[in-house]
Symmetry: none
């Protein structure tokens, strides 16, 4: 079975709201094993809506509508579908009861057009609306399925999950399950990663492999279908091993995790404390870290040593180091990392110094970065980056590289 989602509402075409309903419905359908080939958005316009329906009927077994079930004049979805399919609109007793009791409860006066919301397509199985007045519908004509859902997400989402999904499942010949897993990579570009696994991508059928770039990272979504959930997961495990045999060194985590969360997990597991000295990142590393709950046992604190003055006063960097090597230097990164660790008595001190841009500094172009990592009594490590991006882009990538190098350092120290 394949589906098309038609969202109805002029506010979507004006860009007043984003079509989050299509995203939600798509996720739910993927879970059910229903393919979605198209999303369509059309305004509150009967002619254009009917054209959209005719087109969707050509290419989808199931058409899911969202929006246009409200009480106002421009809510026309079920009326247009009724006219298009030649089905009558009939009053649903339960829906009407629901509406009447709502107005009784709120003490508001019920207007004529509210009664319109109790009308449903004949032969439709009604999907109860437990968070509003517009009932949903699921109806078949010939071999074409139509599902009508309300527009407000807080009404639509529970209706689809609780009533719509099972109505669809009952129609599926195959009870095939879809499982998927996202693998997250850092330090490798999308095109390079794809080149590494090109043959796997070319050969993909089931499971499928979908690389996606974004936010200085690359992810690969592996999706497998099988009647047995267990089998589907096995297929994913197998493909994951194949992929990470090639690019495993850049892999850092699954699904919704972030590289910062992975780092904090390992710090937590090993009771390690950390302090940071941030120049070009201006506090972004610590800010991201404190965005995670429960970080206070790990992050003791640190400095934003944006000026030379603050490097000296807050982090005891030697004036001659700055004179001799400049602040965009390995030596400065080392002193910052070691000193902040000593000052706050933590296991780890990490430092970021360099040129965020757009202007160059000390003759170094924007994007020149030095990262220092001082870890207990181990020799201090430094890392050099040449980034190219906006000022904030360079800061963000520097922070991620800091997390990445620290993760590797802990790995190599057999801490994990």
């Amino acid at each position: 079975m394949n589906a098309e989602i038609i969202a109805v509402g002029t506010e979507l075409l004006l860009g007043q709201i984003v079509n989050s309903n299509a995203q939600f419905i798509s996720r739910e359908l993927a879970e059910l094993g229903v393919h979605v080939y198209y999303h369509t958005v059309v305004g509150d316009n009967p002619k254009r809506l009917e054209k959209a329906i005719s087109i969707a009927e050509e290419r989808a077994d199931l058409i899911i509508f969202t929006g246009g079930l409200g009480p106002t004049k421009d809510d026309l979805t079920k009326e247009v579908i009724a006219a298009h399919t030649g089905k009558q609109l009939v009053e649903d007793a339960i829906a009407m009861e629901n509406i009447v009791s709502y107005f009784k409860k709120t003490g508001r006066k019920m207007s004529e057009n509210n009664k319109k919301q109790a009308l449903v397509l004949e032969d439709a199985s009604v999907l109860p609306n437990e968070h509003g007045m517009a009932p949903g519908m699921f109806v078949k004509k010939d071999n074409q399925f139509y599902m009508l859902l309300p527009g407000p997400p807080h009404e639509m989402q529970p209706m689809l999950r609780k009533y719509g999904a099972s109505a669809i499942l009952d129609q599926l010949e195959s009870r095939e399950r879809i499982e998927s897993r996202v693998l997250r990579y850092f330090g490798i570009g999308e095109s390079q990663l794809e080149a590494e696994i090109e043959d796997l991508i070319d050969a993909q059928t089931n499971p499928t492999i979908a690389p996606l770039a974004g936010d200085n990272e690359v992810t690969i979504r592996i999706t497998a279908r099988d009647r047995s959930e267990e089998k589907a997961i096995q297929m994913i495990d197998q493909m994951e091993r194949k992929i990470n045999d090639r690019v495993g060194e850049f892999f850092y985590g699954y699904d919704q995790t972030t590289i910062m969360k992975e780092l904090l997990t390992i710090l937590d597991k090993n009771d390690l404390t950390i302090a940071a000295a941030e120049s070009l990142t201006g506090g972004m590393f610590q800010s991201e870290m404190t965005g995670v709950t429960g970080v206070s046992t790990m992050l003791i604190g640190g400095v934003v040593c944006y000026s030379n003055q603050s490097k000296i006063k807050l982090c005891q960097v030697k004036a001659e180091t700055i004179e001799k090597h400049g602040v965009v230097s390995e030596q400065c990164a080392i002193e910052l990392a070691e000193n902040i660790r000593t000052i706050l008595g933590t296991n780890i001190g990490i430092s970021f110094t360099g040129v965020a841009g757009p202007d160059s500094l000390e003759g170094h172009p924007a994007g020149t970065v030095w990262i220092g990592i001082s870890f207990d009594d181990r020799p201090t490590k430094t890392y050099h980056l040449n980034l190219s991006g906006s000022r904030i882009g360079n800061q963000k990538r520097t922070v991620k590289y800091g997390c990445y190098y620290l993760l590797k350092e802990l790995d190599n120290s057999r801490i994990s």
Copy 2:
């Protein structure tokens, strides 16, 4: 002229990401006076994409594509359009230069499939990509216009605003100019602001007034149309005065500015230096500040004193202050602000201490915040907030309130 937006990407059909590009493009087109009748989303599938193009050609003068311009195998948008329109793909010298220099700069290995990104449709006017490698295109065949934009929002949005919009305007018969201006407000809720100007909103025709809430602020977009640009701007000026006669006290700036940028402008104008001591905000205030170019003359630096230990060691807060009043206290905010100002010898010291959440601290609920502002030899000011939101939400709002209070403080000191 009417348009259809076709977003290309299987990740959209799987619900992995929401189609925010369609919303952004729709807003921009509305401003240009171009009607949007349909949005379509189609996967990385040549056959289905071509069908979608044929359908769109039946119902739209302008088809705007977003996505599928990347370097990977499943990026097929321009190839499919080339085949469909019978246009050749030719290498664009400038785009190629841009790609080569990117890889030279980053020292990353350029793979064959990156070169593919330099190919453009023949006769197309190329839309430069200032934030990525895939160039955009605007091309006409017979009376059909096609615009190709990249998928990543940070590449697509500036490209459309800076190059795409004017390319479209040149094609519009009506040379009516559309001018718009965004007014930004902080410290007032959307519903309160709407109530204040309800009559203006109800009466709106030209110019139009569109309030929008987001990111702890409220904005009002005023859009005026006239054949004379000057006249349109006058209409906007007039409406702005009407609005700010009522809510001017909450107004802080125009268009793309932020409250942080406004603060930095005033600090810069008055040669004022600032230092910060951040507990619950974890460095977010300084991080946002350093996101702005040229801040180094103003922000000397500061500390992220996330633990008691760091408050004492880095910011010389008295141990007995913490024992007696706790860290979630006015006294702690005062010492942090005054001490960081003294340590770094700046004009201004600002401090943030409190409970980000989700857990309470020292018996204070999440969202309890104290902000301290020490300005030269003036008595230190403190501000108390009771916020309700997520951990990160509370941090963000605290940072904005810090900027807001500091702006007011400078105002009251007749500094501006």
